[in-house]
């Protein structure tokens, strides 16, 4: 393949000619595009110059476009061409006749429109979410009325996926957090000689607060994102529409099992993680402060009222329901393209963690006089 070439010549009559030859195709031009283009543009400024393009063996639209632009979107006055090259320019000419509609001019008060759009967007989220919650409550009523038609298999599968399979990771994280918390508290408590209060700190901290929130954050990241992505892909592949055509309720078959599974799995995971975290704390306390396991276990129920455990379980149920609902809400909003899938999955995880923290604050205020030792 011979590259493109430009030769500047003066003929017998003293006229100057640009003689172009070779392959004027994208792949041949690519390596020398900038220099060729600069050369063409400078030479084309002289309108008396003659152009001889008969030597061009093959011309594609990139090569033609380069010449066309150098000539200022018209044919030069002195042009020697071949018939074979005509159609390429004819295509260019046809396309340049089409009016191009630029994207509309920016509105003068663009920010007002943006603000309005955002508000409407938020409003839609609220309306859709409320609708989803209502639908799940209706589904629950249906399940209670006709338990035989409830989606037991799906619920059970979800319970296994988001509950049982989450046990190793929540245990590992819980154990490590327990050790760290116990170790750091022990350093301070030693200074005051208040060693035995490690049991109070770990007991109250982990059971009432840390366990539920830790599990909720892990489950939101682990199961919440999976639920959003699953529903999202089902939207993209039209599986959800296929369900609807078969007269199967998407909320009953897809949303309800997820909500039910997390409502059951989450308190159990909270129990499991808190227990492991306490074990980690206990091990660390034994090493750091010489507090025996027996003493720790014996003291724990005395300093942590059992109401705290109930609060933790209630938190677990609530967080589980919230995480599943938020995940399903965003999953069902996915539009059939990859961008929407990724942004909704991100939004799902961020929102469910935020919602969990908000609900936790509500719990803290609502239960401020319950289960705290006087």
């Amino acid at each position: 393949m011979s590259g493109a070439s430009i030769v500047l010549e003066t003929d017998a009559e003293g006229r100057r000619w640009m003689r172009l030859a070779g392959e004027w195709r994208l792949m041949a031009l690519a390596t020398r595009y900038a220099t060729l283009n600069a050369e063409l543009t400078t030479q084309a400024a002289d309108s008396s110059l003659g152009w001889d393009i008969r030597g061009i063996q093959s011309l594609d639209s990139v090569g033609a476009m380069m010449l066309w632009r150098a000539w200022g979107h018209r044919f030069p006055d002195n042009l020697e061409t071949r018939d074979e090259l005509e159609p390429v320019f004819a295509r260019l000419y046809a396309s340049s006749k089409l009016k191009e509609a630029a994207p509309g001019p920016a509105l003068p008060l663009e920010w007002v429109a943006t603000l309005g759009r955002l508000t409407l967007h938020l409003w839609r989220h609220l309306v859709d979410f409320t609708g989803l919650v209502g639908q799940v409550v209706l589904d629950l009523g249906q399940v209670i009325r006709t338990p035989r038609e409830a989606p037991w298999r799906e619920s059970s599968a979800n319970l296994y996926k988001s509950g049982v399979r989450a046990m190793p990771v929540t245990a590992l994280v819980g154990f490590l957090i327990g050790i760290v918390l116990s170790y750091l508290s022990a350093l301070q408590l030693k200074n005051f000689g208040a060693d035995i209060f490690i049991v109070n700190i770990l007991g109250m901290g982990i059971i009432r607060e840390l366990g539920p929130v830790l599990v909720a954050v892990l489950v939101a990241g682990r199961s919440g994102s999976a639920m959003t992505a699953q529903l999202g892909v089902m939207r993209v592949t039209e599986e959800i529409d296929a369900l609807a055509t078969m007269g199967v309720s998407r909320s009953m078959r897809l949303v309800f099992p997820k909500v039910a599974a997390l409502a059951i799995a989450m308190p159990l995971l909270v129990l499991w993680t808190s227990a492991i975290a306490l074990m980690g704390g206990m091990a660390s306390a034994q090493v750091q402060l010489d507090i025996s396991y027996g003493f720790f276990i014996e003291t724990l129920p005395k300093v942590v009222p059992v109401a705290n455990l109930y609060i933790a379980l209630a938190k677990g149920v609530t967080f589980g329901i919230m995480v599943a609902l938020v995940a399903c809400h965003f999953g069902l909003r996915v539009r059939p393209n990859t961008e929407s899938l990724s942004s909704n999955t991100t939004a799902s995880v961020v929102s469910s963690i935020t919602v969990v923290i908000l609900v936790d604050a509500v719990f803290a205020i609502a239960t401020r006089s319950i289960g705290l030792p006087t």
């Binding site: 792949m27 690519a30 595009y33 900038a34 639209s61 191009e100 961008e339």
Partner: protein, 259 residues
């Protein structure tokens, strides 16, 4: 005539099943070759092997006289820039708009300036009979026929010498499908492309193909013009070409030809 694609002794195995066994095929420059065959006969697999998306179990494929899979990434990239592929469902990048989709291969090349890219994209859009205002739409806002057109414009954006079409008219209504066939036909005439297409649709076949390769029994069962193929006596070919529908499609082609 020079060969654009040469396939020699190609065999493909998926698990325990042999899809192709000792398959040979040469595609000449400037022709429109249609690959036909029953479902699961490995048409799309063969198309994917031609462009190096899948590697054959045995045998060799040469594109423009150069072997695929040489292990030299630079050479492989240059080879891949010489052909364009139209995927069955368009495979438009859904996070890009139409303009960005068509401009993407040119921008990847990294040598052409933005103004030229803009003009080239508008040219490609007009070549596939779309309007400049369509450039700002997202793939999710396009109809099926428009997706195919945009995908074709994207396949053409690198000025390929070889165009591969996987089921170009599947999922289009007969009217759209006919205009799409006309479009590809005129582009073939204008640009002097070599076209390889996989199709089930006899109207597409009759409207476009200069040669037909029938893929069955793990090899190329027959190769030639439509008239030559119809003379071959084989159950698959008889079923494929000789039912009423097929006869109608081919009849209309012949009457157009004589008119």
């Amino acid at each position: 005539m020079t060969a654009v694609i040469e396939i020699e002794h190609l065999s493909t195995r998926f698990g325990e099943t042999w899809v192709h066994r000792d398959l040979n095929l040469v595609i000449e420059k400037g022709e429109v070759l249609a690959l036909v065959g029953g479902s699961g006969s490995g048409k799309t697999t063969l198309l994917r092997q031609m462009i190096g998306l899948l590697s054959p179990t045995q045998g060799q494929i040469r594109l423009f006289g150069e072997p695929l899979f040489t292990g030299d990434p630079e050479q492989e990239r240059n080879l891949r820039r010489r052909f364009g592929m139209l995927f069955q469902y368009g495979a438009l990048y859904s996070s890009f708009n139409v303009f960005q989709n068509i401009a993407f291969p040119l921008r990847e090349l990294g040598v052409v300036d933005e103004d030229l890219i803009h003009d080239l994209v508008m040219l490609k859009l007009s070549m596939v009979e779309l309007l400049p205002r369509h450039a700002w739409l997202m793939p999710s806002e396009l109809s099926g026929g428009m997706i195919k057109r945009v995908a074709l414009a994207r396949a053409l954006s690198m000025e390929p010498e070889l165009l591969l079409l996987d089921e170009p008219t599947a999922g289009l209504d007969p009217d759209r499908s006919e205009s799409f066939v006309r479009l590809i036909h005129s582009l073939h005439q204008q640009l002097g492309l070599t076209v390889v297409l996989v199709t089930h649709d006899l109207d597409t076949l009759a409207g476009l193909a200069t040669r037909v390769a029938v893929l069955a029994e793990q090899r190329i069962l027959a190769l030639g013009t439509i008239d030559e193929i119809m003379k071959v006596d084989h159950p698959f070919i008889r079923n494929f070409f000789c039912c009423d529908r097929a006869q109608r499609a081919l009849q209309s082609r012949i009457s157009e030809g004589t008119a």
